[in-house]
């Protein structure tokens, strides 16, 4: 009976007061209203209490959000890329009078690791956060940005030339127009999903913005290491992502105050 009661809650409550997120829901926000019930041992069962930090990844948020006495766990590991991804090159600039300036170096080795299902309280409304996606040497820096819903991303132009940032992604469609060096424009991302960002003037410029509606994700370092902190004890599935390719979901159990290690191989 208790299970049924919780199931009913899980079906009826809107997203902002609970539920878990699967990758499909990521891309289809309408599904949130029928978000599945958190599995036994997930945050709700483990006593996760919503808190209201700026929407950053759990690792950046510090140790808030848990009931007194419940120690959060850590998911960490490494993502190995069998073959390093190749950046789409500049199109052959046949009609130009000379060779164009070489663009900056794009960091393609960073992956994103995230919990596919997240504790209920992770969806509570948080304070708005800000992030920056710079345009420098005809390159978006960073190449991959992982944020939570509600985050406003600034797109400063640090080049001496014009750029025109745009995206046709269903998650967020926008076109910032052309603006000069030292100027910046912003976009707020309210829906979870993957946003591909391009420059209309320089077709080789592209970036990814991964928008989560929970803070349990982490960007790998250049060696592929990641660390998702403050994870409420429970059972989860974890996914690694790199340049549009996602790994299969892997199940993990995060013990109270413990560390769970899980490695991925992509490509």
């Amino acid at each position: 009976m208790r299970r049924l009661a919780i199931l009913g809650l899980g079906v009826l409550v809107p997203l902002h007061v609970g539920g878990t997120v699967s990758p499909r829901e990521w891309l289809q926000p309408a599904a949130y209203a029928i978000a599945p019930l958190p599995a036994a041992g997930t945050a709700r069962a483990a006593g996760f209490i919503p808190r209201h930090p700026a929407r950053r990844s759990a690792g950046e948020q510090g140790r808030g959000g848990l009931a007194t006495g419940v120690r959060p766990g850590v998911v960490r590991g490494r993502v190995d890329l069998r073959r390093p991804p190749v950046l789409p090159d500049r199109r052959p600039n046949v009609p130009q009078l000379g060779a164009p300036a070489a663009p900056g170096v794009t960091d393609l080795v960073r992956s994103v690791v995230y919990l596919e299902t997240a504790p209920r309280g992770a969806f509570d409304q948080n304070d708005p956060a800000r992030a920056v996606l710079d345009q420098r040497n005809e390159t978006f820096v960073p190449h991959v940005l992982a944020i939570t819903t509600g985050t406003t991303v600034d797109f400063p132009n640090s080049d001496r030339i014009y750029h025109n940032v745009f995206s046709f992604s269903k998650t967020r469609t926008f076109d910032l127009g052309r603006y000069a060096a030292g100027r910046s424009k912003s976009v707020r991302f309210d829906r979870p999903g993957i946003v591909r960002v391009f420059c209309e003037i320089h077709s080789h410029m592209n970036a990814f913005i991964l928008v989560f509606n929970h803070p349990f994700f982490a960007l790998t370092d250049r060696e592929g290491r990641y660390r998702i902190e403050n994870v409420p004890p429970g059972s989860y599935t974890v996914v690694a992502w790199n340049e549009g390719i996602a790994s299969a979901s892997r199940s993990v159990v995060v013990p109270e105050g413990g560390t769970t290690e899980i490695d991925f191989v992509l490509r």
């Binding site: 190749v86 789409p88 090159d89 500049r90 199109r91 052959p92 600039n93 046949v94 009609p95 130009q96 009078l97 000379g98 060779a99 300036a101 001496r160 030339i161 014009y162 745009f166 995206s167 046709f168 469609t173 926008f174 076109d175 127009g177 052309r178 603006y179 000069a180 060096a181 391009f198 077709s203 080789h204």
Partner: protein
Amino acid sequence: MRWRRGPTALLATLIVGVSPSAPAQDLPSGPLVFGAGRVTVGGEASATFSCASTADDACSDDTGFFNYSDYERSTLRGTRFDLTASVKASGHVWVLADLRVENGRRPTPYALYARIRPWERRPFDIQVGRIPPTFGSFSRRTYANDNFLIGYPLAYQYLTSLRPDALPANADELLRMRGRGWLSSFSVGNQTPDRGLPIANVFRWDTGVQVHIATRLVDAAASATTGSLGNPLVGDDNAGRQVAGRAALHPSPGLIVGGSISRGPFVARTAGAAGGVSLDTRRYTQTAVGVDAEYSRQHYLVRLEAIASWWTLPALGSPSLAEPLGAVATSIEGRYKIHPRWYAGARFDRLGFSTITGTTHADSWDAPVTRIEVGGGYSVQRNLHLKMTFQHNTRDGGRVRTLDLGAVQILFWF
């Protein structure tokens, strides 16, 4: 004037392929790179269809030949596929090429040249071969993806009655050809009717050497080639060389102000020889001067270009063509993005000609033309676009003096 089934079928296939149920997400979105990064291959495919409203037909071809680049090719009807490649031969040398297929015909090398950068860190390049045009601004924006409308500016496409291989014997003969550049004929030289020359021909590239230097404020280029501005060539036809130069100033990120100049013999050796007169064809030149400006900010873009051209022809008979024949083309175009996927654009074009005196009257040596093109585009995805334009043409001469056309284009690039 002929319309083949092949392009129609391709256009239909492309349009069907863009149905909402098949959002072309699997198409390549960037150039193909192989050979350890040494070879980059890109491409652009476009299909264009237009209808002119005439008394006889609700969807006729361009009966006034306003948009033809030769007697058989309309820029508003047909298919085009460009396969472009860049091969990095060394740290200093690249080979660039564009293989073009139009209307299913034989592939032609639209561009094939070597780019040499003597000093790796200095933006100084030497380009040798079938090189991009030095003159003008639109000349390097002729790919469908760079042209936010479908038609071309008159200076770069509209055919005047002048020909390199045939010469008018006198002013009367030239006046008789007013408004007939699509199929012009004169009595001296090649007497077979053929297309005339535009002011600047962007449907072929010239062959020669080009140097280019870029600084923070200025881009400058100069070239020596075998053909002329209106008649680019692979093989020389008159032992003359065209010299051209261009400088573009970038005073602020959104502003480009450019100036171009070119001069080169345009009369073919055969034209003079056939006339039975001894001509030093190097004396009969096309000289052109162009100014252009571009300003963009936020979601709008405005471009302005003006080109003046003079041709000197031999004075073969009376009434003579002793004075250079002049033409001035001006165009202004603008684009505004209404929505991330939608934009609206327009271009106003005017092409005028100098006056010559014939036996009975004085008139401009070719018929002045005015064109207004308005339209817009929709991006299905980043590299798949649909365009639709409406064009109004008027001409002060020729068989068809006014013509309205509607055109659609689908375009894919990678």
